[in-house]
């Protein structure tokens, strides 16, 4: 019948488009919405709208990150949740935690994240350094709302205390 083959055509098109979309969003880039104010003022500076950001997945090839990168990662205590925070420490760095009066070294293969808005941020200060394997992508641009569209800058604010990356032979 004419309508049956039309239906089949539409289904095939949808299937193909969704396969391609899924592959692109897994391997190259995707757009996610940011909830919560833990990265204020970089994202969601006011609580009325949610920002949408572009997340690139090319970094998952070699797992090379820099201090100040904003990344999306699965939560270590609940694999279904994802968080967006900024990388403060990379493997081998020493992190000083003012509220714990302690200095600790980020283990190999792990990293230390914190939200820009340290008052309302659940991050490595509560759950410790987390494995790099939990990272799902790096945030590069804000794409919505239009008045705040633009690159997400790497902010390095004097922490960690000492970093292996200061030495040229690291990695």
């Amino acid at each position: 019948m004419g309508t049956r083959s039309l239906l089949w055509d539409i289904t095939k098109k949808y299937f193909t488009v969704s396969l391609i979309g899924l592959t692109v969003s897994d391997r190259y880039a995707s757009i996610v919405s940011v909830r919560g104010s833990s990265m204020s003022p970089a994202f969601n500076p006011r609580s009325d709208t949610n920002d949408y950001v572009l997340v690139e997945k090319f970094c998952l090839d070699k797992y090379r990150f820099s201090h100040g990168d904003v990344v999306v990662f699965s939560s270590p205590s609940n694999h279904k949740e994802k968080h967006i925070k900024r990388i403060i420490g990379l493997p081998g760095d020493w992190i000083g935690t003012p509220n714990l009066d302690d200095v600790l070294k980020v283990p190999e293969g792990h990293f230390w994240v914190e939200g820009d808005n340290s008052v309302s941020s659940l991050d490595s200060r509560s759950f410790g350094p987390i494995p790099l394997g939990l990272i799902r992508g790096r945030v590069t641009h804000v794409v919505w709302p239009p008045q705040r569209m633009g690159r997400v800058e790497r902010e390095t604010n004097q922490r960690p205390l000492s970093s292996l990356q200061d030495r040229p032979e690291f990695y």
Binding site: I20, Y63, P76, S77, H79, P107, G109, P131, G133, L134
Partner: protein
């Protein structure tokens, strides 16, 4: 020789090349989606899962559905991303889930000392079947559930070992 004359049908060659490329691209997308969301073959080698898995390498079929639904439990052989080097994946057996207590021999080559630890919520404790030659949770601690990438279903190669992995 006039290469751009009307005798050579450039437009239809270009169209056919585009069509063929589109077919290949769609096939690669299908391959990616199957490998990431349905099941994928993995080559596993090393001594840490003897005698279940061979030293010189087995090809196992890893299914990638159960771990997204939370259906991974103790006794499963899983593919897990290494917490020490995120570029590598390990194959180990899940011994305990979040909230369980696990008792293990810390270093069986040198002493009989045992430790008991409670696995934090959202984490799993993995160990290789060959505890004498395995780097696992006894060295790097409990692993977040989010690092699990798949559950091993059966062995595909070598053919004489074909079939499910027995406990």
């Amino acid at each position: 020789m006039n290469l751009f004359g009307n005798a050579v049908p450039w437009r239809s060659i270009a169209r056919e090349a585009l069509d063929r490329t589109a077919i290949v691209a769609k096939f690669l997308c299908l391959l990616h989606v199957t490998n990431t969301y349905v099941c994928t073959p993995t080559l596993v080698y090393g001594p840490s899962m003897l005698p279940t898995l061979n030293l010189t390498g087995d090809v196992l079929l890893a299914e990638r559905v159960s771990h997204r639904l939370g259906k991974v439990g103790p006794g499963d052989v899983v593919l897990v991303r290494s917490p020490v080097d995120p570029r590598k994946s390990l194959t180990k057996r899940v011994v305990a889930m979040g909230g369980d207590e696990v008792t293990f021999v810390v270093d069986p080559r040198n002493s009989e000392r045992v430790r008991t630890i409670v696995v934090p919520r959202g984490h799993v404790w993995v160990q290789g079947d060959n505890i004498y030659a395995s780097s696992d949770s006894r060295q790097f601690g409990p692993v977040p559930y989010g690092l699990i990438e798949g559950k091993m279903l059966c062995r595909v190669w070598p053919l004489d070992g074909f079939g499910s992995l027995n406990h």
